[in-house]
Structure formats: C-alpha cells, structure tokens
C-alpha cells in the first residue's frame, strides 16, 4: 500500500479548473519531485494536499486512510502527519526562531515545553541555525529563514513533507545551503514531495519525478526516464528548455 495516494484529484479557482484529475502515489520514505512550467498547478496540488485549497474532486489516502477535506477533525489529523515549506519564507515575524519552531508542538500538540525545546535545538542544529535561535526572522537572510521554516515543519514530526519551490525566492548563492538541508533529510524515512526547478538536485535526490502541465500529470517515472528518455514530447520540451538555461 502506498504511503500517500492521490486519486484523480481536481481543484478549481472559480470556474477555472487548475488541477485536472491528477493521480500519483508515493511509498513510505520516497522522494517524489514535481516539475513543470509556471502555472501548471504544482503549488495548487500541494495546497490541496494539505487542505489550504479545497479539492473539487478526487481522493487522497494516507496509509490507506481517506482524508476528508471537509471535516475539521480529519484536517487536524492530516496536519499532524503532513507539513509544508512554502516558497516565500513565511515564518511568524513576531516570534523568535525558537518560538517559530516550538509554537505548534507546544500550543497545538500540547507537548511539554522542555521536551519540545530540546527537540527544537536539535532540529535547528541540523539545519545549521542553532546559533540564531533567539533572532527574529527579519534579522535573517532568506536562506536562513527557509532553513528555520524546514526546522519548524519537522518539529511536528511529519510523516509527509511538502516543499513548494523553497529555493525559488533565494539569492543564487543561498540556494545550495537550503538544498543541502533537504538532501540531509532524504534518508530519514519521511515521504517527500518536492516541487522544484533545480533540475540537478531533483535528478539526484528523487526516487521518481512527476511532470505537470496545464493542471494535468504528463508523466511520472524515475529521474533517468524523465531526464534522459522522456515518453512524452511535452516532458522532453520542458526538460530541455530548463537544462539549456
């Protein structure tokens, strides 16, 4: 049974359907990357998965259990299992780094503060931000904020981690530090869905790559297939246009 199974998932903004019957599955610990041109529905896919944007059709199963996106209780359960890191660094600006990481486990999961803070220190050390735990987000570079956001997402002990172009808003010299951080997480058994335009990175860390275009899944396969022998001409076009840059 796949850990995360997406069946014929659709979503619309108003009358415009931006996600069209997308089906994908990922096994436990798999790193599934999603590529595709801007506007192809990658962010929408992730937003629907974590319940920020309602689906208009289709189903999502986690470990065989169906997620009911119209039920508050089901959403609460979902968010205990799944975390997301966004493109813009959306840390809570009014909280220190430490508080950003600990607020959800302490206030929402009601775990003991001591224990949460010890875990947070370990997570911040892991993303190389231990020295900044008392800083506020505005005092950090984009790359540093993004690494804190990763620590914050990990602090809820997610089984599934979503990344939405987490390096797209960064200065080029900051991209690697964030990619390094993600790379370090790929062997921990967390199932990951990574939306990214960093093709070398995608190729290296992914178990499988999904290509999207105009809200549809074009093809999905191992990196070698997508990058070296794509079955769809749309994939070939997109990959070569990106690699040329």
């Amino acid at each position: 049974m796949p850990h995360l199974e997406i069946v014929s998932l659709s979503s619309r903004y108003g009358s415009e359907e931006v996600l069209k019957e997308v089906s994908l599955a990922a096994d436990q610990g798999e790193v599934l990357s999603v590529i595709g041109p801007s506007g192809s529905g990658k962010s929408t896919l992730l937003r629907v998965l974590i319940g920020l944007t309602p689906p208009s059709g289709g189903e999502v199963f986690i470990a065989g259990e169906r997620v009911d996106y119209s039920s508050r209780r089901s959403l609460k359960g979902l968010r205990g299992k799944m975390s997301i890191v966004f493109q813009e660094y959306n840390l809570f600006q009014n909280m220190t780094v430490m508080r950003n990481v600990t607020v959800a486990p302490i206030k929402i999961k009601k775990r003991p503060r001591e224990q949460v803070e010890r875990q947070a220190e370990a997570l911040l050390a892991k993303v190389g931000m231990a020295h900044k735990q008392d800083a506020y987000p505005e005092e950090l570079s984009g790359g540093q904020q993004q690494r804190v956001a990763i620590a914050r997402a990990l602090a809820t002990n997610p089984e599934i981690l979503l990344f939405d172009e987490v390096t797209a808003a960064l200065d080029p010299e900051r991209v690697n530090e964030v990619l390094e951080t993600i790379r370090g997480l790929t062997n921990e058994g967390i199932t990951m869905i990574i939306v990214s335009h960093e093709m070398a990175f995608v190729r290296e860390v992914s178990t499988r790559v999904a290509m999207m275009d105009e809200g549809r899944l074009v093809e999905c396969g191992p990196p070698a297939q997508i990058f070296d022998a794509p079955r769809q001409s749309r994939t070939r076009e997109f990959v070569s246009s990106i690699l040329r840059h």
Binding site: L91, F92, V103, A104, Y136
Partner: protein, 224 residues
C-alpha cells in the same frame, strides 16, 4: 510700550490648571477607548462583513472623517435637545469625540488587519492552528504591531483635540486657562504656561506609549 511679563499670578493657579490637565487626559482616554471599541467593530465589519455591514461602516467613516469634530459636537449639543434628548456639555463632548475617534480608529485598525500576511496565516493553518489560535498567535500580534504607531499619534491628537471641549464650557485644561486669564487679565502668560503643560502631557504620552510599544510589540519607535 513695554510689557512686563508677570507669571506669579498664573503660577498661583497652577494646581487649578493641573486639575484641568487631568480632565483633559480623562477626555482623551475615554474618547480613545470608546473609539477603539467602535473602531474594532467597524474594522471587522469592513474586512469581514457582508455588503450591508460594509456599506454601513464605510458610510459612518466617510461622514465622520469628512466633517470637523467641532461641528459634530455642535450638532449633538444643539440638535439632540430638539429631539427631546438633553445632553450635558461634557456628555455631548464625550459622545462626539468617541464617535469621531471611532471613525478614524476604524480605518487605522482595518489597515492593521489587512496587513496580516496571508502566507503567515497559511503557515498557521498548516501547522494545525484553530481559528482562535490563528487570531491569537498570528493576527493579533501582527495587527497590534502595525497599528501601534498610528494609534499613539491618534491618542496625542485626542489630548490636543479635546481642547475644543472648552467651547462647550467644559473645564478641562483650555477651559480652565480661559477662566484664569479672564480673571487675572494675563492672557499671554496664562496660555504660555498652558502650552507648556500641553507639551509635557503629549511628550509624556508619546514617551510612555513608545516605551510600551517597544516592550510589547518590538516596535522600534523612538521614545524621544
């Protein structure tokens, strides 16, 4: 002809004038907090209300921010008795200033609410926050920080603006200054002293507000 300043007669009345300063602060406080309650309601109506609520709130704001506070209080003071409601001068002034402040504070608070970054709300939601937790941990701190400086300025404006109460015979600082100067015929000295008292009041108010802002919201406002 030379004019010799004589402050001694004014200083003799200092306790009386300082008593007026207390009334001034009371008017400013009541107007501010009354206005804040209306302003919060107005801002919520404007941001989250349905079309009717939105329309009502913006009509209120437009009407009251486009007419002088003084004219509004005159209307309350002279028009309401015709409708059978007799207001004391202090009551008329307070009601007028509260309504007026409510309109300005609606706009200030609304700006604070819409300044909350949607991406931070998204982050809160995906971390599992309930609606109440979103308000408490994301919206409130953000809004408070954004509206802090305009609120402080508005409070200072109210301290000064409350002087229009004197026109209705309220004995706050300016009202008492008029009384003193009519009695001692030392207008220049009296109003000079009163001006200094106003400066002290507003500087104290700004400084304590800036300090509070720094402690509570990490607003980097200058204390002086």
């Amino acid at each position: 002809m030379d004019y010799t300043f004589q402050f001694s007669e004014v200083f003799a009345e200092l306790p009386y004038l300082l008593g007026g300063a207390v009334v001034t602060l009371e008017i400013a406080f009541i107007s501010f907090w009354g206005g804040a309650v209306i302003g919060l309601g107005g801002a919520l109506a404007k941001v989250y209300g349905g079309p009717a609520l939105k329309k009502t709130a913006s009509t209120y704001v437009t009407a009251l921010t486009n007419t002088p506070a003084l004219v509004q209080i005159f209307l309350l003071y002279y028009a309401l008795p015709d409708a059978g409601i007799l207001l004391g001068s202090m009551t008329a002034v307070l009601i007028g200033l509260v309504l007026n402040a409510g309109a300005y504070l609606t706009e200030i608070i609304r700006a604070g609410i819409v300044s909350v970054r949607p991406s931070e709300m998204d982050a809160g939601v995906t971390l599992g926050m309930s609606r109440l937790q979103l308000v408490r941990y994301v919206m409130l701190p953000h809004t408070a920080k954004t509206i802090y400086a305009p609120l402080s300025n508005f409070f200072v404006w109210l301290v000064l603006g409350s002087s229009l109460a004197a026109l209705f015979g309220v004995e706050e600082l300016t009202g008492r200054a008029i009384n003193v100067s009519t009695a001692n015929l030392r207008s220049i000295e009296t109003f000079a002293v009163v001006a200094v008292i106003y400066v002290v009041l507003t500087v104290m108010a700004s400084a304590s507000l800036a300090l509070a802002g720094r402690l509570m919201f990490r607003v980097r406002a200058k204390v002086f």
